[in-house]
Amino acid sequence: MLTNADFLALEGTAGNFTATINMRPRYIDADACTACGLCTQYCPKHHVDPYNEGLAITRPIHIDYAQAVPATYYIDPSSCLFLQHETCQICVPVCQSHAINFKQQPEERKLHVGAVILSPGFGKIDPQTLEKFSYGKHPDVVTAFEFERMTTASGPFMGEVKCFSDGRHPKRMAFIQCVGSRDIGCNNGYCSSVCCMYAIKEALVTKEHDPEVDITIYYMDIRTQGKDFDAARERAEAIGIKFVRAKVADVTPWENRLQLTYATLDGQHKFEPFDLVVLSVGLESPKDARKISDITKVDLNKYDFCATNGFNPLQTSQEGIVVAGAFQGPKDIPESVTQSSAAASLTAASLKKVRGKGVELKTYPEEQVVAEDDEARIGVFVCHCGINISSVVDVASVANYAGDMKNVTYYTENLYSCSQDAQEVIKKKIKEHKLNRVVIAACSPRTHEPLFQETLRDAGLNRNLFEMVNIRDQCSWVHAGEPELATIKSKDLVRMAVSKARHIQSLPEQTVPVTPKALVVGAGVAGMTAALNLAEQGFDSVLIEKGDSIGGNLKNLHHTLAGDEVQSHLKSLVTKVNGSKHIDVICNAELVQTAGFIGNFASVIASGKGQTKAEQTVDHGVIIVATGGREHRPDKYLLGKSKKVVTQQELEKQLAGKAKSRAPGSIVMIQCAGSRGDDLNYCSKVCCNHALKNILKVKEINPDSQIIVLYRDMRTYGFAEDAYLEARKMGVVFIPYEVDRKPEVTQKGAKVQVRFFDSIMQEEVVMAPDLVALSVGIVPDDTDTLSKLLKLPVTANKFFLEAHVKLRPVELSVSGVYVCGLAHGPKPVDETIVQAQAAAAKAAIPLVKGYVKVDPIVSSVEQDKCIGCGLCTSLCPYGAIVMQKVDGKRKAETVSASCKACGICAAHCPTFAISMGGFTNEQLISQIEAFGATGDR
């Protein structure tokens, strides 16, 4: 990972690129820096903190934020006294690990690579655009990014919301949506897709801080089109956050407050005073987008985002270069994460031939056998961490205290336990004193346990014979003013750890081999794309399809909003799938049974109809769930009862046909028919775009057609906003309706009549259009069966629930099972394709490795003690404990490869038959006893 680096040039072609990188000097040796932060404390120069949006002051020598990777400080040359004026250098002697190096120079590096992934993120809206809202003129007008830092508990105000003008807590707050997006005034015609959701989040957080604050969100359309995002809006409304559909014209200072001028739909102009105004600023293309385009020759779209097409959404115009994240178009976290995985799968496929080349495997000395009844010989190392610990905790007294404890054979202090030389000392002492347990009292095991465990392995000890005591992050740093009490706490923690260490044992490193084959359930665009991507990476799949033929919902689509032909793409996809030697397609098939775990599944697949029905068993290592969804057909608005009422999908089919009257002269479209709190509780994300694409097609065929769209919020997020604008320019009329005043469709002789309240004219309107088109939602195809079969959780709306909605968007809670497409949630074709590529990327990880590594801290069942009650099986959230017959008796057994080591099973087992590696009852009880034994050692 090269940070502080600039991308200067790219030469060559796919598979053989040379990238030129400029490494800016960090002025700190990253290997030596321990991220103790002492340099920042001593640095005398102020530096406006860009990470905190300029709301705080840091020092030129700093780290951006606590979780920054790498955890290494750097010096910003723009304000460093030495680099600017050759004075100061206070940091040099302060740094105990001698990490500061002002001699560092910029360095140009050439990287020989086969593929390039562009992920530069997004840029910021020009402050000029914000001026009309008094941004920059009045301190109480802030951007949502600034407000985000303000509400963050670890931010410069520790989460306190206040007005910058006088520090008072705001009583009334306003959020203004679409600042710098959906605004052709600043050339950003697109919708930034994320601002509605982040405004709602920030409003909810503010309400949590101060329930009394009055918050209004001024919006054009609330675009919470993401999976389960509408629920957040409802929650916001339920706790009193107001949503006002109005365009804010300006914000002007008024006494010590701010006055908003806005116009509502009915044409009224209103004024409203607020204490604090938050601008929901959009996402721009990255500021060096054009530079990147110059270097790589990739095409940009008219908004300077990377241009791609809907059927290959991450492929740039240059072979070997793919894009991921907001540079491809504004998007939120889960979608960015999904795209990053998908980009990885595309490059993994293109670089298949060189996979694993240039990798050197580390070897370790043979492991010393430590038997259960061997006397514990514990070595205790207490760290100073420079002065991070020792300036508060009396390290020598803690080490001496440890030295007096039973079984402690050796004890010492380290200046920096994590330094290279300290590792050598620890290894030497392990051998010299025949240590068979090591306790290190230093920083956090979350950051440093792997490093020390590696040292143990290098010294021939099992890595589990290690215990860490956190006397820095959770002691010296948080009790800086109470050195005596912090020392007592350190001693107590060391005592507890040594006590536990007496009972810790070697644990085996387990690996489980993987069957290099995937089972893909569902052969729609998601399943086909996933199987094809795996094939391109060199892996076999069994692709099973419930229907007679593969293709799924693509069969019902004819063109995309961007104008691409769907049927020709489908044809080429089907040809590729059928022609692939890696893909075994089974139609009329269903999954009957699956046993096993990641790497080693065995599934029974039933296929054929009637007489030809047969069952076969397939061994496979991973499962990709792509069971899809279908159009929801609400029993409303005369759908199915009148020929003049159709769904958007039916209209699309009609428009793709040849009938002369296929684009009728007058159409009324009703959005959210049966969705968002009706039959379906959620937004189906695609329907607004679906309506738009049909509108443009109708207008193309019959420019005189009069179209009225009745909607709640037009959710043409991203670049689809252009189509919305185009439709309005063509004279299509968009009229919002309220949920308590939905349109009505009735039969009147041969005609259908639509009655609705026109919120612009403020009157009831009755029309008799030639056609009524309903934008209906999407429902998942039967997720119940698979959910039970594979123990996969589903959401309240019956879509599969991913392992983590933001960070693990294509993995399911059961290891080795991945999800993509409509089975995960409603989404358009391009997003489905990306998600399928992402699922293939994740599924390929165990397939490429060929084995699954099991963390030794997993659960294990002592079968003699197990009474077969099955409580553990029912409680395990990961399906990692199965009941098996052993000598005719029901016994629990851990599926190590699926276990996440949470220990719920162990805590609930009535016979204490379940043990957790590294967290056994014996170990934890001894730790608890040591907690109480303040007088003993």
Binding site: N470, V478, K489
Partner: protein, 68 residues
């Protein structure tokens, strides 16, 4: 500290993935809090057997903190 002041001894069971991480983050941000708690890291608060809580109380804990 005055003798009369209640100075409880607290045992905290902290989940490795959330509360333990949060306690580390509190340290990185140098948030100050009273040094009354001794932490015991578990991989999930689901690991906490009620017996552990009772045992800690029997060992003299004035309170138990469970963070997950």
């Amino acid at each position: 500290m005055a003798d009369q002041e209640f100075n409880p001894s607290i045992l905290g069971f902290l989940c490795n993935w959330c509360c333990y991480a949060a306690a580390d983050a509190a340290g990185v941000s140098r948030f100050q809090y009273p040094p009354n708690m001794r932490t015991l890291r578990v991989m999930c608060t689901g690991r906490i057997d009620p017996a552990f809580v009772l045992r800690a109380l029997a060992e003299g804990a004035d309170g138990i903190f469970s963070g997950g």
